[in-house]
């Protein structure tokens, strides 16, 4: 069975500081990996995704993530955080069921940004 672990429930960073959110996954084959962001009371917005190829993936809003197969990790990074980045971040692993994907989400990391 596929699973995702986000070990940090809550992270606080200062505006302008760098950010790294951790994600570890369990999946029996090559995974499809995603990072989503959720603002309070809103749905989920896709930040970036990894399927194959280059292990460093660029996303929207200046985010990037690196797939490390040996560590079963897909950590999200941003060099300089903005106050508007405060939100909940979810890592997800996908597996195909026929022609559609089934996503399993982690429990999320809440990011607080101090000014």
């Amino acid at each position: 069975a596929q699973s995702v672990t986000q070990p940090d429930i809550h992270i606080t960073v200062s505006e302008g500081a760098s950010l790294e959110l951790r994600c570890n996954y369990s999946y029996g084959a090559t995974p499809y990996l995603f990072w989503y962001v959720q603002s309070p009371g809103q749905g989920l917005q896709l930040l970036l995704k990894y399927f194959s190829g280059d292990t460093l993936v660029q996303g929207i809003k200046g985010f990037e993530a690196e797939f490390k197969r040996s560590q079963s990790s897909f950590n999200l990074r941003k060099p300089s955080v903005h106050w508007s980045d405060a939100a909940e971040y979810f890592c997800a692993v996908g597996g195909t069921t026929g022609t559609a994907s089934k996503l399993t989400f982690g429990t999320g990391t809440r990011l607080q940004v101090t000014l």
């Binding site: 995603f34 749905g43 989920l44 997800a92 559609a100 989400f105 429990t107 999320g108």
Partner: protein, 115 residues
Amino acid sequence: EAEVAQSPRYKITEKSQAVAFWCDPISGHATLYWYRQILGQGPELLVQFQDESVVDDSQLPKDRFSAERLKGVDSTLKIQPAELGDSAMYLCASSFPGDGTYEQYFGPGTRLTVT
């Protein structure tokens, strides 16, 4: 830009009452998902449709929950009777299986409060 529509955005109901949520996926998206997100947790898949057929409903509490997608377009999720533990955000997502990205597009969600 096309979006997944959900209604209502907020719903307050008393326990033992019936409640229904509606979702209209992005046009052309054959796969539709309903997720439940309990506060402080990641979304959990309840049911997945491929066109009008159920692909996966293994996590759907079938004694009280039902879902349908009669014409393979919009969908309704029903709870009858509602219980206090059903208070959560209900998210709908859709995807286009043929584009090879397995990306799911999420709606804004319905926040359910059972009193």
